[in-house]
Symmetry: C2
Amino acid sequence: MIKLTQTVKKGGCAAKVPAMVLKEILAGVKFPPKIQGVVIDGDSFDDAAIFKIDDNISIVQTLDFFTPIVDSPYDFGAVAAANALSDVYAMGGRPKTCMAILAAPMATMEYQVIQEVLQGSCDVIAEAKASLVGGHSIDDDTLKFGLSVTGLVSNDKVWSNEGARPGDVLILTKPIGTGTICAGIKKEFYTATEAHEALSSMKRLNNAIDFLSAEDLQHIHGATDVTGFGLAGHSYQVAKASDVSLKFNHKQIPLFDLTVASLKAANLTKAHRSNNDYTQKVLQFKNIEEVETQIYFDPQTSGGLLLSVSPESAEGIVKKLETAFPKTSIVGVVEKRSEFYVYVE
Amino acid sequence: MIKLTQTVKKGGCAAKVPAMVLKEILAGVKFPPKIQGVVIDGDSFDDAAIFKIDDNISIVQTLDFFTPIVDSPYDFGAVAAANALSDVYAMGGRPKTCMAILAAPMATMEYQVIQEVLQGSCDVIAEAKASLVGGHSIDDDTLKFGLSVTGLVSNDKVWSNEGARPGDVLILTKPIGTGTICAGIKKEFYTATEAHEALSSMKRLNNAIDFLSAEDLQHIHGATDVTGFGLAGHSYQVAKASDVSLKFNHKQIPLFDLTVASLKAANLTKAHRSNNDYTQKVLQFKNIEEVETQIYFDPQTSGGLLLSVSPESAEGIVKKLETAFPKTSIVGVVEKRSEFYVYVE
């Protein structure tokens, strides 16, 4: 049976171009003017773009694709879809249409493998109550798959990176550790059975919105999904956009059962280093063991939502989300902006 | 100076997965249900998807990316953008938001090359009065670039593949031949200067809509853009969806000055063969020289629009389009469905 991770050098979000490199490249490009209707674009490093259709409704748009992060073709398609759909949920939207991005070695890869990748993604798209409306496929040396996703959101219900307020409580809906565990899978250090917890978490849709009431949603001021730049990188982006500092309670960060052992076994990716570089001037650790600091740099694929919610509603929201996301936890608080953007203690 | 076409095996739309292969693969996949609002999806092989936002307006969505088809990074970005934006125009829409799809060998490619690719695309996006709102970039062995594009269209002004009516006249807005000429560039058979006509045509936006009046637009019943499956493949898709036959007047097909010479020099791609295979049972040639039949199988990158218009308005429309698309021609007629979907004589 084909083991997809053995066909590529880097898997999943770890293959993402590092944030600092991207920033340097983009600094040399003159972008088209922002047309009327564009509310959020790439400038704020938000999860997805927002384009106003009229006074009531906006489209939420995002695009994500990557090389295989897991060995099973079906799982790879499912993870890629959940990961791409996630950015729409992270803006408070509901996904509607998806287009597939497929690159595959057509001459050597069995069609069945490609079909399984597509089936995995289609099943997750169906779960999200969205449709697959098109896509593009090219012949390439290595497999890559992902989706361009468009959702709808009411103009007054957008969760942006800018919404975190001092006093808010931070909730994380999925455990951290997919980066190190997938590095372990790639090294054949873990079997799919051993890594089951991380695999099913990556396939899990971030549809927190489907488990909350309209009132709960009003208490959510901002959100992001934790992906390639790790908890440190994405927290930094939220803190900067909201002009606040985030303080994490290290003991409360939900982890997979394998996470710490895998980090101790030095199952690391290049992204652990680049995420550290990206945030080292803006993040302060207090009394955290060296190996455990990697938790914050671990590049997540299809990671959880980091929600910034009013303190009085936090426990109720956690309780509701636990039914679908069992390791949902209150992981910290939002404070007034101080010396560092992110604190871990 | 870097010559991008020398960094890849197949360039542009010639790297597209052949239609027949794609069909076989997709036949083995169970797609998510079509949700409310989806008017056109991948089923009809149309240029882009249509999703109704409300009773008045729909979004038009398409996604396209490929390997370098030309040597200059700036030109590659511009061609990729014009090519992706084209599908929105082919549905009668106006592009609004774009997201970039970038794969690049980060360790070996100079950032300046990537910046030029992005700049070329940004300049064309600006010309289309759209915005770049996001994207995704990964580290990969070879350069790939493209866009996911969303446009808006009034529900009653969609140009679908289904709209061609017997009695309509067919108008083609750009010359045919980018497939063979780009194959010649890749073999270093032509310099960029020699291939200038094809290069500027590929960079040219398909914004015919901007040159026509509201009345002209009412006379356009259907449209497609001619890309990777060639004039034969895309004509077949239109004929099948509209349940008509298309009859081309071979002498009227606009060509680049180099097209026939390049075909005679056997500058061919794999797609010439697969497009021939794709259409051989549905297309009839009458008295066409063997080498010239390749015109119909030539995979276009950023090819022109094939418009199906009422006969009384055809000449006026051609006259207006000629200011922007000098080789615009009346190339044939739409007839009642008969034995073949496409006739060339």
